[in-house]
Subunit: 136 residues, 2 copies
DNA sequence: TCCTTAGTAATAAAAATTATCCATAAGGAA
DNA sequence: TTCCTTATGGATAATTTTTATTACTAAGGA
């Protein structure tokens, strides 16, 4: 259970009813596209303006509350920022699975960046394939 | 110098004048967004319909001639498919730099997928940061 | 060279995103 | 708690991006 009001305030954003509704839906689905947020908010909660959702997704992404997950062949999904992890994206059902990296499965991107004089700020690793469920 | 006509035929696509113009521009820039392809084609070559560019980008991507590179905060870029590599994306100037992976900098994503019962098909690694040039 | 069929241009339509502007609510001050 | 200031939301228009339609045209095989 995330304290949405606190999360927003920590990022210098007012804790409005609408923002908390949006965050609640994103948290519920983990990774979700804008149109889907709109549908879910409209269905479950009161009806927010689509423009409000757009404005807040953009704003919360800028302020570091959310992060965009651009995906090949579909619209970007968004999630609440958390510890670094990579994504397993099922090309059958669209599910996005979080995968934390441990020492065993670390990705040595630091070295890659270093050998290219590239100042690394953010890593984005998407693995596309078929999820456990869709294989059977 | 890529033989565009051959490349297209290898993927069961007719080698039209327009497709070769598009491929030539993509090859020239390496990684490029649709609108930019349109501008460049219109400027340098004859003027192709924007709809033609869209249709062909989609088609050539489906047929495996091109690959989409979705990027946080901007529109997807496209490139001609080549050996697997990752991307260093400069958040200052937008440049996309190819980085081949050698044994030293390999990314052990196989293991990640395996421990998740995930059937891996395609990897997409984007490293965001500041390029050599923009640091000075 | 001729034919068949897929591809293109032009344009309309649809979908996605952003801007505008007035009403409203959040949150700090008193 | 009430009041004030200002950021935010709703409604909607405008813009941008992407897709569909259709008549004409060119690619490539016979
Ligand atoms: Mn995630
Ligand atoms: Mn590349
Ligand atoms: Zn699946
Ligand atoms: Zn740069």
């Amino acid at each position: 259970m995330i304290d949405y009001a606190l999360l927003l305030k920590e990022h210098q954003l007012k804790a409005t009813f609408q923002r908390m509704q949006i965050l609640e839906v994103i948290e519920k689905y983990g990774h979700i596209a804008i149109e889907a947020i709109y549908e879910e908010v409209s269905r479950i909660h009161s009806s927010l303006s689509l423009a409000t959702i757009y404005k807040n997704i953009v704003l919360m992404t800028q302020k570091g509350v959310l992060t965009e997950i651009p995906i090949i062949g579909e619209k970007s999904k968004y999630e609440i920022i958390k510890d670094e992890h990579i994504h397993l994206i099922c090309t059958e059902c669209g599910t996005v699975i979080d995968k934390m990296l441990d020492d065993d499965t670390a990705i040595d991107t630091e070295k890659v960046a270093k050998t290219s004089s590239f100042s690394l700020e953010h890593r984005q690793v998407n693995l596309y394939g078929t999820c456990d469920h869709c294989q059977s």
